[in-house]
Amino acid sequence: MNATLLHTEATAACWKLMDQICDPEVPVLSLNDLGIVRAIAVKSPPSEAGIIDITITATYSGCPAMDWIANTIKIELRAMGYQSITVNHAISPAWTTDWMSEQGKEKLKEYGIAPPEKRFSIPTDGIPCPQCKSEHTRLLSEFGSTSCKALLQCQDCGEPFDYFKCH
């Protein structure tokens, strides 16, 4: 197999891995769904020296999941045969929910979290309830169980629910 092909395949395998590692706080979203993996550079495939550079970006500055995510990436890449792994944290460009995949937004809804929507760039009453689809909902707080979410309650089915804020 030629070197270029080896690199391409190794890179594709790493991107696939990012579909399997999930956010510990919203375990239905993979790193690719969240859009926090900005770059994967295989410098040498695992069959050779196994050197790789990964660049990730935090959702919010204080997101406590970032250290866990960086460690998990290292553990999984080591299991794939990489010997030298660098995980860089990029600050710029700042993460935005625009990078979240459409598939990720669907998964959020099924999981009971209202996905980010442009028309609700500021959390407000009326964000559709992920349980019963009612728009008769009330904002309880712009801050929720994690940095990325706001808290609402449905006035029809009575369920409280999280809204993944536009960012």
């Binding site: 935090a58 919010y60 500055s61 204080g62 997101c63 406590p64 600050i91 710029s92 460009p93 700042a94 993460w95 500021i122 309880l140 707080s141 712009e142 801050f143 929720g144 169980s145 940095s147 808290l151 960012h167």
Partner: protein, 247 residues
């Protein structure tokens, strides 16, 4: 120039960390669960911002410095946080107003820094600004609720304003490192004051009696009130008692 940049980065980092440390004392003690969660989230953002800034400061400093040594192993005189950040929590009104005054300041400051030629500071400012927008809105809504609420909540907010206002002047007085970097914090004052004043007026509070009050200075150059020593004693206890401890 490098020293000025380092000092300035520490000023930003220390201010965010100390206010975060202050706010963190509310964790589990907020007036209602949703607001406990809100202030704790804001705290997390502030500490997150300080981490990015300390990481950059450690890089500028070189040697063995890390984000942790900068936060845990410097003494009061080395801390450059603004005095406003170290003011006591007091009651909910004082905590809210301190957050509001500080967040409105951070909004102006970070907006200015997004255009800074130092690309790392500009990047941290751009990212943090998204978070600060939430902090301004949340604390501003609480200022309205308390000021224009009951007689009791109004009185408490007035007391908080009298307590905190004398610590706001320092924010707009350039420290040596700001001058060396060509930054002019005084330029931020007009927008800050307009935003603060409009919310306070809506909350039925007046700044008239405070217009020419004495303004404390010193924090930005390491001269602090008595409060900071107690804050650092809490914050740094583990690293001082068990140097290098990790878990």
């Amino acid at each position: 120039m490098q020293q000025a940049l380092l000092d300035y980065t520490l000023y930003l980092a220390d201010s965010a960390l100390i206010l975060g440390q202050r706010n963190s004392a509310w964790c589990g003690h907020g007036p209602v669960l949703e607001q406990d969660i809100a202030i704790t989230n804001i705290t997390l953002d502030l500490i997150g911002q300080s981490r990015s800034l300390y990481q950059y400061a450690a890089q500028l400093n070189g040697g063995d410095a890390t984000e942790d040594t900068l936060a845990y192993l410097r003494s009061e005189r080395e801390y450059k946080n603004c005095l406003l950040a170290e003011r006591p929590n007091g009651d909910w009104a004082q905590t809210i107003l301190r957050q509001f005054l500080f967040s409105c300041f951070q909004r102006e400051l970070y907006t200015q820094l997004t255009k800074e030629k130092d690309t790392t500071l500009a990047a941290i400012a751009t990212k943090s600004l998204k978070e600060v927008t939430y902090h301004c809105r949340w604390s501003g809504e609480w200022v309205l609720r308390l000021g224009d609420g009951t007689a009791e909540s109004h009185t408490r907010l007035v007391t908080a304003l009298e307590n905190l206002w004398p610590y706001t002047g320092e924010l707009f007085k350039a420290a040596d490192y700001e001058l060396a970097m060509g930054l002019d914090p005084a330029a931020l004052q007009t927008n800050w004051l307009a935003a603060v004043q409009s919310t306070l007026e809506e909350a039925t509070l007046s700044l008239a009696s405070l217009a020419s009050c004495f303004m404390h200075v010193g924090g930005k150059k390491g001269v602090h009130t008595e409060e900071l020593g107690y804050i650092l004693t809490d914050l740094q206890y583990m690293q001082r008692a068990y140097p290098g401890c990790d878990w």
